[in-house]
Amino acid sequence: MKKKVLTVDDSRTMREMVAFTLKGAGYEVVEANDGQHALTVLGNDKVDLVIADLNMPIMDGLTLIRKLRATPQYRTTPILMLTTEADDKKKAEGRAAGATGWIVKPFDPSKLISVVQKVCG
């Protein structure tokens, strides 16, 4: 069965690129505009991996990660932060919030796929 990935980003370009890249690698991809929207999507749909941007309106990525980790169903689901910030502070914050790992924007497609495979097979 195809693994399902949720990409959460307020940038349509970024969502579409993630979706395109991962669909090409055989994943099923669902999309959300922000953290709040992601929670709604996740309420209806069980996913195998969440890729979340950090800077988003309404609900940011860190809040989303914390909320997911507090939800029994998503306690151990891999969550990748998608960020252009190469700074370790953000990564540490993300890790502390419960993120599995990170992908630094801009990514090249093969990098994205390899990171995704690394955390969800």
Binding site: S11, T13, A99, K105, P106, D108, P109
Partner: protein, 732 residues
Amino acid sequence: MEDLQQFKQTYFDESGEFLAVAEAGLLRLAPGNVDLDEVNAIFRAVHSIKGGGGAFGFSELVAFAHEFETVMDGVRSCTIAVTDALVNTLIRANDILAQLLAHARDGTKPELGFADPVVVALRHHAQTAADAVQESPAPSTPVTNLPETVSRVVTVRFQPKADLLMTGNDPTFMLRALTHLGAAEIECDVGGLPTLAHLEPELLYLQWLVTLTTDASLVDIQDVFEFVSDDSLVEITEHSADGASPTASPSETDEAAGGAVTPNSPGGLAPATRTEATVATVAGAASPSQLALYEASAPALAAGDSKAAAGKSSTAGDGAHLNLGGHTIRVDLDKIDRLVNMVGEMVITQAMVAEHVRDLPPGQFQELLEGLEQLAQHTRELRESVMSIRAQPVSSVFSRMPRLVRELSSETGKDVVLITAGENTEVDKTVVENLVDPLTHMIRNSIDHGLEKPDDREAVGKPRTGTVHLSAQHRSGRIVIEVADDGRGIDRPKVLQTAIKRGLVQPGINLSDEEIDNLIFVPGFSTADKISNISGRGVGMDVVRRNVSNLGGRIGVYSAPGQGSRFVLSLPLTLAVLDGMVISVGLERFVLPLTNIVESLRPKATDLHGLVNRCDVMMARGEYVRLVYLHQLFGIPDAIVDATKGLVVLVETEDGGRLGLVVDEVLGQQQVVIKSLESNYRRLDGVAAATILGDGRVALILDVAGLQEMSQHARSPASRSVADAAIQLPAL
């Protein structure tokens, strides 16, 4: 990377929106009026432009956006104070960003150093803040080449921290990733497992020793543990040929990460180092070489000509807004529909006014009449412009079909090639949207029922690969879509037999080939002996026909045994307004679509010829045309019965068939607003829709092909019995 190019347009469209958001926010930003949400929104806008830009390799844009973003980051974290000078710089920076985007879109090189004064100003603001908080400088050493590697043996000891699973990391995937790097022997150490009573199911007690024969670099191996190396134990030991075992050195990659400290990583693993390297090389985000480019030429411009720079940036801003904003806008469909409706109402009103002035004495109101003529012209142009907003190429539907064909091809074991033509033919959005289901079904039908298996094809001397042609074109003011296959054609005896078996037609009935072919559209008909997975998905050709007819369209089939079948779908281009000719029959008014009309004439008695005891053909321009008496078809009393006393309007259907409609009078040309008959009343044969005329009367819009079909039934006793059985054969 090539594949991502298709998102460029989305990126530019979206970036245009981000620029607008940033500008609006910046214009509201003032000392003492700092709304952090708004500052965040500006930051996000710039950040997103930078992120997307990196993916497409717009390095100059990314480098500039990075400077801009750094300052915005300072503003949102309150380390940079908002001053008028800062706001001015930021607004200029937004303009420059717009210009860089325009350059990126057009593939042109920005003028060297044109952004420099703004970069210097941005840096000045950032630097002031940095000085204030004594921040350490950004990393400055770029990544050097990674070490060359050859195949060798590496052992990896991996002792994950107990609560590793809580972060969503799963050792299984890491071990699997190692196996992708080379031949791996994996030993699991279960020594740490507690007794069952003490076992916490969510904790990890295992550790692994992997012996890997690989030619992957140490960095690649470290990369596998990228997300866990800072809190789990990962030891990587390399065994060179001479038996020495140097441990992986973290020094090289650590530098790239800005000297990141890596606690608990005895193997010398630097977390994220690989990722950092990727950023620097792929995107050039804040890449030192990029910044150096700005620095080199900055002083010359920066200090001196601020007036010139200001002038430049303002034109830059205007130009960029025009360039980026001018191509597309996204508009709510409801707004367009409202516009379409209003144009429709305007067409009616214009017709009404025209109706009232028609009887005015000529000469006296010349200017008024000329004005009205112009109004009519403008109304028509307005209508066409509005309709073109809703028009879309059918390619959005056609492009889905190759995939369908591929799937069907593998499901049925038939080799199929799909050839499409006319993808750019435009038609109303609603029509496009409603094309998907009928087309999908027609293509399914062609492949499932029409095409033979490769061996069967070969046996009858056809190429093993079957062909399905899908085409669209404008014809007679409608869009005509054809699905043609080179399969076996419709098996008429079988169709007829099935129809009789299902009680759809009387046994012993004499039907023409065309009538038999069209039986496949009759509700309750299905030829597949057992319902296949493909064609028998609960949608029959009858549903296809109903959907098509709901759109004011028609579907028909032409088939030649052994050579294939051709489904022809014809739909109106728009569902809102049409150019029509108003005709009268008795006291009734009808509208004929102008696109169907060839000419109107008054026949002489010698032009009329009787067939089967009725005057039902007429010689017109050297060919015989069947006459249709509208008063007969619609049962209208007090109409002119003799064609030589009334008028004959020659009409043509999309498939080239001609008819002569006998009417009392032709009243004149008019644009009419189409009001659906189905949604207000019910479907009527021979009638496409209704409209409201200028004088407020309701007139029916005639469906010429439908009339042709009705007249055939009226003439042929055999067909009439089909019609009586409530089978509505499709018109074509």
